[in-house]
Amino acid sequence: MVAAKKPADVRISGGKLPPIALPTNCPGCGVGLDHEELRRHTYVCTSCGHHFRMGADAWIALIADRGTWKERYGDVRSHDLLNWKVPKPYQETLEQLRDEGLNEAVRTGTCSLGGREIWLATFDFRFVGGTLSIVAGERLARGMEQAAASGLPYLLVAASGGARMQEGVLALMQMAKVNAAVGRLDAAGVPYFSVLTDPTFGGTAASLALLGDINIAEPGAAIGFTGPRVIKQATYADLPPGFQSADFQLARGQVDMVVSRPELRRLLAHLLEIYP
């Protein structure tokens, strides 16, 4: 794990990250949090390095060079196709989240990073747990097809509980849909970098998130297929501390590196220089 360092200019694209909901004290070390200071430090605790979860808007602000973000397919919307009623009507869930200003579990578009044009897709865990839905899959697949055709590198930021239950088997099929598109990126020789943040599980981990040419995990991120609660329910096994952590996945060969958020932008800009 790379320790969080003091901010450097390359860290942020220039603009400030948007404010996010934060607790009073750090869940990592208990220290009282200065929200403005935290925001300047890409929402990483300056005393213990705890990485707070960021939504799609914050990730876009972090990754994209200032003023270069062009959102694509933002008008592709989900709706309740299974007439899902319990415990809460799915349509109501969707409308409420939209009223809160969230636009689905994946947002995608183009931007530049360190002057290099890329495709960027970022999950948003606040939208039904960042679950892979038909719209999420459609936005991902369209962007990947465009990247494969144009040769622009593709950058993913993952944060997801898996496939979205409320869209049934069609949500499951998104895993095949996006992996088919990852195959197109692969065949086109287009670099695909995947940043795995806390948490990345289920159908998202078992499809595009772990298929990056380079998989980069955030320190402390939980990454796996089956969540710990379900593993315990199914097997009665006691899981050791750190099970499914970023370092666990690094040790088991699933990710290439664990990189702290203040270092991430510099690393990605560097990688974009190396990969054609």
């Binding site: 709706h79 496939a163 088997v169 992996n179 499809s207």
Partner: protein
């Protein structure tokens, strides 16, 4: 797309009864079908990396006079065999074995038959430690590059990513009393309600029966089972499954490889096109 025999609305079973039939311990398993389809079946083992997964069987046999690669989840009949086969729940080695055998089939230009019958990939610590997520991810991506025809059938339970990892094919069909779902009803109840005893409600919400999937355009055909379900007549069910699979395979054998792979891509790329009622979704691009 069509349903043979009885019309879909003629079923009198509840969703939960279908789930129980799909999981019935007397239901035919993959080997019961494969041994009837290709009596000379030769089983192969191992992922050539670290192990063999008994939850997935694979091997070759002559089927309608043609050398064919058969893959299938196998649940096990006796308690001892169930344990050995891990109730048809694959570990990472299983997905790696499947990809190896698919590539083997491609080398010799054998078509592939995949029979799906799993509650899901194994939700245990060992599977996580050995990379179950990336094993499934890699398998799903590789299926799109296998340059021979693939026909798949859900014969019992099609559970989650564990099933989809074996379910990328040119045609996917289902036996009448089988299910295919984003998660098992128990897992969905546990995720949505944090209460896995609400499985019956979850099953009803999930729309996981063969008829639901046919209506959504996720499978090409539902194969009717004998009166009383597949478990009462292995011979008749195997014959119906054989006929349907071969009928779907035949036109694929004549297709140029490039076209085959393009159609496989489009099959999944636009698999949700039937429900794209929203104008926002826009046209194919």
């Amino acid at each position: 797309m069509k349903v043979h025999g009885r019309r879909p609305e003629e079923t009198t079973l509840t969703v939960w009864q279908v789930v129980e039939l799909a999981r019935h311990p007397d239901r035919p398993y993959s080997l019961d079908y494969i041994k009837r389809m290709a009596p000379d079946f030769v089983e192969m083992h191992g992922d050539r990396i670290s192990g063999d997964d008994p939850a997935l069987i694979g091997g070759v046999g002559l089927w309608h006079g043609r050398a064919t690669m058969f893959l299938g989840h196998q649940k096990g009949r006796s308690l001892k065999e169930r344990v050995a086969r891990n109730w048809g729940m694959m570990h990472p080695e299983g997905y790696r074995k499947a990809v190896r055998l698919a590539q083997h089939a491609a080398k010799f230009n054998f078509p592939i038959v995949s029979l799906i019958d799993t509650p899901g990939a194994y939700p245990g610590a060992g599977a996580e430690e050995r990379g179950i997520a990336s094993a499934i991810a890699k398998a799903i991506m590789e299926w799109f590059r296998i340059p021979v025809p693939i026909v798949a059938a859900v014969i019992g339970e099609g559970g989650s990513g564990g099933a989809l990892g074996m379910g990328v094919a040119d045609r996917v069909i289902m036996l009448e009393n089988s299910i295919y779902s984003v998660a098992s009803p128990e897992a969905a109840a546990s995720i949505v309600w944090r209460d896995n005893t609400r499985k019956v409600e979850a099953a009803e919400q999930l729309q996981l029966t063969s008829r639901d999937l046919l209506a959504m355009g996720v499978v090409e055909e539902v194969v009717t089972e004998p009166e009383g379900s597949a478990r009462v007549d292995y011979e008749a069910t195997a014959a119906a499954l054989d006929e349907a699979l071969y009928r779907h395979l035949r036109p694929l054998l004549a297709q140029p490889t490039e076209e085959l792979l393009q159609h496989r891509y489009e099959r999944f790329r636009y698999i949700d096109s039937l429900i794209r009622a929203e104008p926002h979704f826009g046209p194919k691009i």
